[in-house]
Each structure stands twice: as C-alpha cells, then as structure tokens.
C-alpha cells in the first residue's frame, strides 16, 4: 500500500474536480465564450439597449435599469449554465463515456463522485459569476460594494437547481430527451417569470406563485438586494433557507441515485 495514500473524503472530492479540470482544458474555448460573450450580449442588448428605453420612459425602479437587471442576469446565467453542466456531463458519465463506472472501481464512493461532480459545477459557476460581475461593473451596472455578494448568491442559486438536475441525470436511462423538456418547459420559463426583467408584483396572482416556487426568484431577490439594498433581514433568511432546502434535497437524492446506478 506504499503508493496509495489513506483514503480521505475531502481529497477525493478534489480528485474528481481535478479530472474535470483536465476535461475543461479541452473545452476552454466554449467555456470562455459562454463565460464572457453571454454576459456581454445581455448587458449590452438588454441592460443598456432596453435600459435606455426604460430609463427614458419614467423608470420607477429607483435605480438605472442596468443596475436593476444585471444582478438578475448574473443569477439566471449561473442557474442555466449549472443546469446544463449537471445534466449532460452526468448523463455522459453514466451512459455515454461511462467514466463514473471507472471511478466506482476505485476507492471513490458513489457519493464522492456525485459531490465532486457538483463541486466542479460550483467552481465553474463561481468563476463565471466573477467574470459576469466584472463586465457589469465595466459598463456601470454596479453602484455599491455589497454587489460582490452576487457571486456567492448566484452560486448557491445555481447549485440549488443543479443538485436536483444531477439527481434526474442519475435516474434517467434514456438518451437524455428529458433534458430538452427540462430546458424548454422549466428553465426558460423560470427565466421569464422570476422577476428578472421587472418586479414580480407586476405579474398576476398565478404568475407570482410561479415565481415564488422557483429557486431563481429567491436567488434574484437576494442578488438584487445585494446590488441595490432595500431587502429585509427576515427576507434574506427566508430566501437562503428556501435555496438551501432545494440544494440539500437535490444532493441527498442525487447521492442516493448515484449509488443505485453505480452498484447495479
């Protein structure tokens, strides 16, 4: 056993992350494009383009439209990228390239494989959010230092959704068609109905409830709160608790299903 170190659960997590870094080196171009051009496109077209229209027509939001909308974009982008990262690569690990089955033959446990995979998603989202924040700031979309909290908030929101998606990816046996439904009927509508572009109070009753259920609205409220202020301490706790609930339930189910899938 001389060459083999004593198994330690935390280092195992990093071993999985390290693998993803190697994979990431091969796809850095697409990661770069997603990480830089998506924020640029949103900030320029909607934040500044649409923002000019809003600001010139009696903006009642109390801050320039870009300042209002950019934290929400950051959070929504984090959630969307995380959802995709938790869906297809995990499906591939089980089914297409079967790398998880290779990992399961090592000292790694299914739960560690699951955690490591999600840890990688979280790191990527964190890095993306930092870039997003820098682009926001470069275009005058930030007004106070508290806005840096958008980065951890967006990461938490993204993981609150990515963990259940990882569970679904571990359960799904088919070729991943279910993910098309997920993105078409859940992820995209969530972006439109979570108070990204305007306060959810503008929505009818049913629309507001859609927002309240979705983790994205809670993340958006927190991110916007950090960017603009005017958010109560109790509201902060409520939003955080709701996001944590999604994350923990998703993680528990994902770990369980990784175990089931890898021990067949």
């Amino acid at each position: 056993m001389s060459a083999v170190a004593a198994p330690a659960s935390r280092s195992h997590l990093w071993q999985v992350v390290e693998y993803q870094l190697y994979v990431g080196r091969r796809i850095w171009r697409s990661m770069f494009i997603v990480g830089v051009f998506t924020p640029l496109a949103y900030v320029l077209s909607l934040g500044i383009g649409l923002g000019t229209v809003v600001n010139n027509h009696g903006n009642s939001l109390g801050v320039p439209y870009l300042v209002y909308v950019a934290p929400a974009f950051l959070t929504a982008a984090a959630l969307q990228i995380a959802a995709a990262d938790a869906a297809y690569p995990i499906m591939a690990g089980f089914k297409w390239i079967r790398t998880f089955h290779g990992m399961a033959a090592t000292p790694l446990t299914p739960a560690q494989i699951c955690d490591g995979q999600l840890m990688w998603v979280a790191l990527r989202i964190f890095a993306n959010s930092v870039v997003y924040l820098a682009i926001m700031a470069a275009f005058g979309g930030t007004e106070r230092w508290w806005v840096v909290l958008c980065v951890p908030i967006a990461t938490l929101t993204a993981m609150a959704f990515a963990a259940p998606v990882a569970a679904i990816a571990a359960i799904m046996e088919n070729e991943g068609n279910g993910f098309n439904m997920l993105f078409r009927f859940i992820v995209t509508p969530m972006f439109l109905f979570s108070g990204t572009f305007y306060p959810v109070s503008e929505l009818p009753e049913w629309g507001r409830w859609l927002a309240y259920i979705s983790p994205l609205w809670h993340g958006t409220e927190l991110a916007r709160g950090s960017a603009i202020g005017h958010i109560g301490g109790l509201a902060v706790l409520g939003h955080l608790a709701y996001l944590l609930l999604w994350f923990v339930v998703g993680l528990v189910v994902a770990r369980w299903r990784f175990g089931v899938r890898l021990s067949k």
Partner: protein, 328 residues
Amino acid sequence: MVAPSSRAVADVTSSPAPDLLIEAHGLTKTFGDFTAVDGIDVAVPRGEAFGFLGPNGAGKSSTMRMIACVAPITSGSLRILGMDPVSQGPRIRARLGVVPQQDTLDLELTVRENLYIYGRYFGMSRAALRPKIDDLLDFAQLTERADAKVEPLSGGMKRRLTIARSLINDPDILLLDEPTTGLDPQARHVLWDRLYRLKQQGVTLVLTTHYMDEAEQLCDRLVVMDAGRIVAEGSPQQLIVAHSTREVAELRFAPGENAAAAERIGGLLDDARERAEVLPDRVLLYVADGERALARAHEAGLSPISSLVRRSTLEDVFLRLTGRSLID
C-alpha cells in the same frame, strides 16, 4: 515492469496477508425474480490465475462486480483480502485492479492523462505517478502514443491502456472481465502475452471469459459456470481428463445428414466413455483414439465431406457439462 512482483514481497513482510485473497460461500445475486448468481463457493489464493468460464449470461460478470466491491451481494458471504466488502469497500477497492468488460476510458483525454487521473483517484501523488506511468506505458506498449488522445486508438490499444490503468495502484488482485472480447486475433495474442507476464510476476489474476483458449492459456484453475451455478472446477487439464476423452474426431457430413450419421457411428463405439455428439454442422466423436474411430467410420461405409482429429479442449468439457457450446 517490476512493481507488481516487488509489491507482493513487500506485502508479505508488512502485513499478515490472508492465504485466501477471495473467499465466497453461497454467493448469490438476484435482480428481481432473476437469479444471476446462484449460491457459488469460490476461494482464490495469492498468486493464482483463476478463471470463470461460461457463456454469456452465466453469471460471470455479476460475480466479478461483487468481487470488485461495486455491486452488493444478495446473500451468502464474501471476503476480499480478508475484509468485508459492505463495510470496507473503499479500502478493498484501493488494492484491486479492475478491467471492466466495457472500457471506461476518457476518450477526450490523452493516454497519459487517463493514467494520471486514475492514479489520482487512488490518492497517489504526482511524484509517485510520473515514473509509474512511464513503466506502465512501456508495459502496455503505448509509450509512442502517450500524448495522443484515446479516441482514435485501436480496440487492442484501448484494452491495453485499460489494463495499464488497472495496474496503477499495484493491485493485490487484478480482475479482468472478458479482457479480449471483441478484439481481433492478433490483438488478443498481444494482450495474452502481457497478462502472461503479470502471471509470471506473481500477480493474482481473476478473469472471466467465454473463450476456452484464453482460459487454457492463462488460468491455473477455473470454474465452469452455467446459469449462475458452478458446474465443474479444476485446472484446465484436470477438467479435460475428468469430463472429456483424450481425443476428438470431427466429421462433417452434408447438411441434414449429420444426425443420421451420428446414430450409425454411435453403434460402432465400444467403450462406455466414448460417445458421439451432434452439432448443427458436424458430428463429434469423443474417443481415446481418434484415427481409429475415423477408420472404423469409413469401414462402416460412412463418407464424411471432411474430417479431423484433435485433442479435447475446454470447449468439449463445456459441451459435455451443459449440452451447449460456449459461443452461441
């Protein structure tokens, strides 16, 4: 590659290694109503090359996945390296090398990166891995492709990489599930040569196969599995002696005439151990003296299209024990 042999020595001195690396009693695996493995007993001592021979669906892979501490057992008892797979799975897996039936290589990474990443899963340091990887690349004859992506490699090269990868942690037991299935004959021979070297170095090998020549070449001892049960056990030679005759005469008649010919020949055989077996395309005569049996068939007026005499193999043992051939 010297590591596995030096390793075996190191282990004897450092920890009182159990005599039996694998010990299973009444090992059973069910999937719903289906019983894949039906109460088998297996014991593998250190240094042995042990084989599970049987057709597809015999329960070999299910057995291997339990031994690899990946799939839980349904009932019975199983101890690997003296430990319990349920409570000590990660500790056991740290000392196993696994070559799965289907490769699980990362095709996007290079050959070297695949080895490096896998070594990291065992908690090995960068410094320990560098020389180890060079040794394994050499052993697997992949040094020239070290920095090539895995995707375009041939099936044989991928398989050799999977075997190299399984040796990264100097395993106490190397588990090979159908190591050469799907490879062309030349690639299989290269692989057998590599596995034979490991065997010579004293690595404990456990393999499943439905190729009798593979079992004969590599296994000191094997069990024949059929429908989840062990139907025979012994060295290849012992099994042939116990369950077959010394020689086999193969007679090929015109399509549709094999059964009738077999019936006539059956009457010509004198010894109780001798018998005729009808396959769809030929008749097999299990006899002590193949040439003599052929001559008698000709004397009786039978004229096969072609004929040959050969030694009995494990294929014949399997046919005898199960009434079916290994490869359907």
